[in-house]
């Protein structure tokens, strides 16, 4: 009776143990099926606006500086050495201006104190480089394991040889804000922001792909902002 009970208990414990070992592995990491098929799927477009302003106002004129401000975090090495080429700056500015023109906005070339445009558009960009290293070993890291058919611990693989895999990638963001100059306060350094748009994604290795992604992102930001229409 006692032997039978012990035998049943071992049988139960062995089955439970197999499950718990595998469950522990899955529990530690979870399961994240990932079927991203292209870098385009990592692109984001975000817009936000002042509902009260656009419910009451219909801006028609805008001013936009002829350069893109590059934002660098002095405390982060990721943005060290970042730069935006003149070609990309011109692309960004021209695409934003084109979209605003299509919406019925007229661009003014200079800011005059007594004759301010309805809105001012300020454009900036961020570029970061991320680097890291992983240790690759396809057969895992177990050095002790229970062996079949019984239950026990035995010698197995030692820590397997592995090799470092270095990786790096660049991310970029283009951000632009529409400011109401009448609501801005120079003394308090406050800007009356009425519309914000941003695009974010991976910097592609081919320039043409980057230009296409930037153009597409800017167009999408205007497409999801129908309240801008004059």
């Amino acid at each position: 009776m006692m032997i039978q009970l012990i035998d049943q208990s071992f049988d139960f414990v062995r089955r439970a143990g197999v499950f718990f070992l595998s469950a522990l592995l899955f529990f530690s990491f979870g399961c994240y099926p990932d079927d991203l098929t292209s870098t385009d799927e990592l692109d984001l477009v975000l817009t936000d606006y002042d509902r009260d302003y656009f419910a009451a106002e219909s801006p028609r004129t805008f001013f936009m500086p002829d350069s893109v401000a590059l934002l660098i975090d002095p405390n982060s090495s990721a943005s060290e050495g970042a730069e935006i080429s003149l070609q990309i700056q011109n692309l960004i500015l021209s695409q934003i201006a084109l979209n605003l023109k299509d919406l019925g906005y007229t661009r003014v070339e200079e800011l005059e104190e007594g004759n301010l445009p309805d809105v001012v558009v300020l454009v900036s960009a961020v570029k970061n480089t991320w680097v890291g290293v992983d240790w690759y070993s396809w057969w895992g890291y177990w050095d002790w394991y229970p062996w079949y058919p019984g239950w026990g611990w035995g010698p197995g693989w030692g820590y397997p040889p592995s090799y470092p895999v270095y990786w790096s990638y660049e991310t970029g963001s283009v951000l632009w804000q529409m400011i109401d100059p009448e609501e801005s306060n120079r003394a308090d350094q406050e800007l009356g922001m009425i519309w914000f748009a941003g695009i974010n994604g991976l910097v592609r290795s081919k320039g043409a792909n980057n230009e296409f992604a930037i153009r597409r992102g800017i167009n999408k930001a205007f497409e999801q902002s129908p309240y801008l229409t004059n």
Binding site: A23, L44, L46
Partner: protein
């Protein structure tokens, strides 16, 4: 969590009468249909999951035991997402829920040993949810412990080998909301093998 562990110990220390079937252990493949707020977040049927159960019989018709499960819910969405009334985000969004129910259960069985045995019962315990939303290069994680209930019903169908049976079960999981999480619920459809001693 510690109260759950105490319950597990009490279940297996409870004295039982000796009869032809004392223990049941089962490994099952789990599928799940999300319901309620879980379905609002992820509407796709889950084809990934597994579970382990162990039950001890007090007599021919009543058992108590434990259930450990794992279900994966996943959905890929594209398009515009209205984050607030004024804020719109567009892109590809990946949504994941890894759910780990851990329950103490009691069941009542119809029929006799080594026959097709329908059963029904209730489980109570905890549910660990690991919820992750990825969009673009960003991800938000929301991991919580929930109090959980899980009524269940199923069949044990002997295979002809007295020690094993096909185990088919339906289990409705409900994990109550926390201050940081919605409530999670799904209907589990499990198919597996049971070993009986």
């Amino acid at each position: 969590m510690r109260y759950f562990l105490v319950l597990i110990v009490l279940v297996f220390l409870f004295p039982f009468q000796s009869h032809s079937q004392d223990y049941l252990t089962s490994l099952s493949y789990n599928t799940a249909a999300p319901t309620g707020q879980t379905q609002d977040y992820i509407s796709q049927f889950s084809w990934r999951g597994l579970s382990f159960e162990a039950r001890t019989f007090f007599d021919t018709n009543i058992s108590a035991g434990v259930f450990f499960g794992w279900n994966v819910f996943y959905e890929k969405l594209r398009g515009d997402f209205q984050a607030t009334d004024s804020r719109t985000i567009s892109g590809t969004q990946l949504r994941y829920i890894n759910a780990f129910p851990m329950l103490v259960e009691g069941h009542y069985y119809l029929g006799e040993d080594f026959e097709v045995r329908p059963y029904f019962g209730m489980g109570v315990g905890t549910n660990r949810t690991v919820q992750r939303t990825e969009m673009g290069l960003f991800a938000i994680n929301n991991n919580n412990w929930h109090f959980a209930l899980a009524p269940s019903a199923g069949f044990l169908i002997p295979t002809g080998n007295y020690d094993t049976a096909i185990h088919l079960a339906l289990r409705y999981h409900y994990a109550f909301k926390t201050k940081d999480s919605i409530d999670h619920s799904w209907l589990g459809i499990n198919l597996g093998i049971a070993w009986m001693n």
